[in-house]
Symmetry: C2
């Protein structure tokens, strides 16, 4: 993405470059290609769809950072801090538009397939917004269930992984059963990914994270760990968590006590177990596909993220 | 749009209904259909594309109101006031996604045509964002030219009219020359429409407007009238305009003097003349198409908006 020329308007072009050249794992960009390789058929359209979804992912980060008032992204000021809020809203909008332009300009996508991709990716964007809305609506609530959490991360994160895998399979002209299997793999991978992301914030130290450990707790995010802990009976540990939940100015020792409470109440182990179950679902799906070296890459990917905390 | 069910998330569904059921002229929704009728061929897809572009138009209003800090829309609180800014950002995003879902679900669009529509509408959304960005970048500047203004309204307004007309013609399977002519008609109509909209704010009284006359001047908007006036030599009139330009708390008599200055410097007449020229371009294009009663509707539409101020 070095020579990006996506907008004809100067401010917007530099703003888009600021976001898209800031790094990130670019995991979503590679997923359709990896799935295509596992199926033995890749076209340039696998790369185009990966790029389109990666741009959409970055658009959601730009808007999420405004909504969540997050001022740092990938070690640099978020776009609305580096520029301003109107420019960030607007640039995000244009990025979403550009992704559909890219998609429709990819000339080795058969016309009938394009309809299916536009439908799938349009639905994904709506679901991601719905997931973000649930996250907003969850703020400050102490009565959430595991199902509420799963519905939220399915929208915010997992559907993007699912869609990457689904589109990769569709572009490789896979049969419907294979498309369904790889979609299921992507969904389980995405759920595992988000659960692990939440865990990393609690179990890794500040040096590894590149940001203070426990920042999700201070922001009051309703992760599965927090929901699990809030659903235990009143106790000293539960009180210790409540004391720092959403308390951005909490003292260091209080935060340490809050994170210790998550450990003590079994909430970390509970969340870890669900991550492992999703990892296993993803591996089981892969086991049903014909074995080949490229499929091993999908397997390694399934094991990679969770390996950071186990 | 009475029985809209566009989102599966409760807050977002009610927020979308709040926006889409708040009225508005729905001009963009009808344009593809009217163009199809003028060409003698309309399908249900003309309505679908009209609905998709109308939803996109409303999405841009939701986001523009946040960026411009406009608290009233169609006589009711803007979405970010009635709900909150995160919900309004997010609902706008989902509305854009929904419009692409609608488009790809319209089953009487041939697959090859859908590619062209996604390309055209994706580009339109990007251009609208670029136009809005120019508007943001123009804020507070006193060195703008007529060309700067035209580039801005071409993006913010006119390309949407152009796209409605273009898509209508494409769906009627018009030949390329006819598609180009109707696109040109839509563009000229859109330019005329925006020039007239700017004029209405200055020349109509508060009662007709439903909001205070001169509010664009108080907000500091760089309309063609303002740009024309600022490009005249220093004078008492120019100073009277500068005194209230962007001065939201200006006294009533100062505002009256500022608006009087636009009249005195010939800026209103200048802007009116350009609106009339674009009206004429639009009419000339229609004269090149085969006459029929449905084409008369396009002609009447071309004359309607400007008739409000002449």
């Amino acid at each position: 993405m070095a020579a990006l020329s996506l907008s004809e308007q100067d401010t917007m072009q530099t703003a888009m470059k600021y976001v898209l050249e800031s790094g990130g794992k670019r995991l979503r960009a590679t997923l359709p290609v990896l799935v295509g390789q596992a199926l033995g058929i890749t076209h340039s359209s696998h790369y185009d769809v990966g790029a389109a979804i990666e741009i959409i992912h970055n658009f959601t980060l730009v808007h999420d950072d405004i909504m969540d008032d997050d001022s740092i992204r990938r070690g640099r000021p978020s776009l609305h801090i580096a520029y301003d809020i109107p420019t960030a809203i607007n640039t995000g909008d244009a990025m979403l538009a550009v992704s559909f332009e890219l998609l429709s300009a990819s000339d080795d996508i058969p016309a009938g397939t394009l309809r299916r991709l536009v439908q799938t990716i349009g639905k994904m964007v709506r679901k991601v917004a719905e997931g973000q809305q649930l996250d907003i609506d969850h703020e400050g609530r102490d009565d959430l269930s595991e199902a509420d959490y799963l519905r939220m991360i399915e929208g915010k994160t997992a559907i993007m992984f699912e869609t990457c895998a689904r589109c990769g399979a569709i572009l490789s002209a896979a049969d419907e059963e294979t498309v369904a299997l790889l979609s299921e793999w992507g969904l389980a991978l995405g759920l595992c990914f988000q659960l692990v992301d939440d865990l990393i914030d609690v179990v890794c130290d500040t040096e590894t994270l590149g940001k203070p450990a426990g920042s999700d707790v201070l922001q009051g995010k309703r992760t599965l760990m927090v929901i699990h802990a809030l659903n235990t009976p009143d106790s000293e540990s539960r009180d210790a968590l409540l004391k720092v939940l959403g308390a951005k100015q909490a003292a260091e020792e209080d935060l340490a006590a809050g994170l210790e409470a998550l450990e003590h109440l079994g909430s970390i182990e509970y969340s870890m177990a669900l991550a492992r179950r999703n990892q296993q679902v993803a591996l089981d799906v892969l086991a049903r596909l014909e074995s080949n070296p490229a499929l091993d890459v999908l397997e390694a990917l399934t094991n990679y993220h969770i390996s950071r905390i186990t």
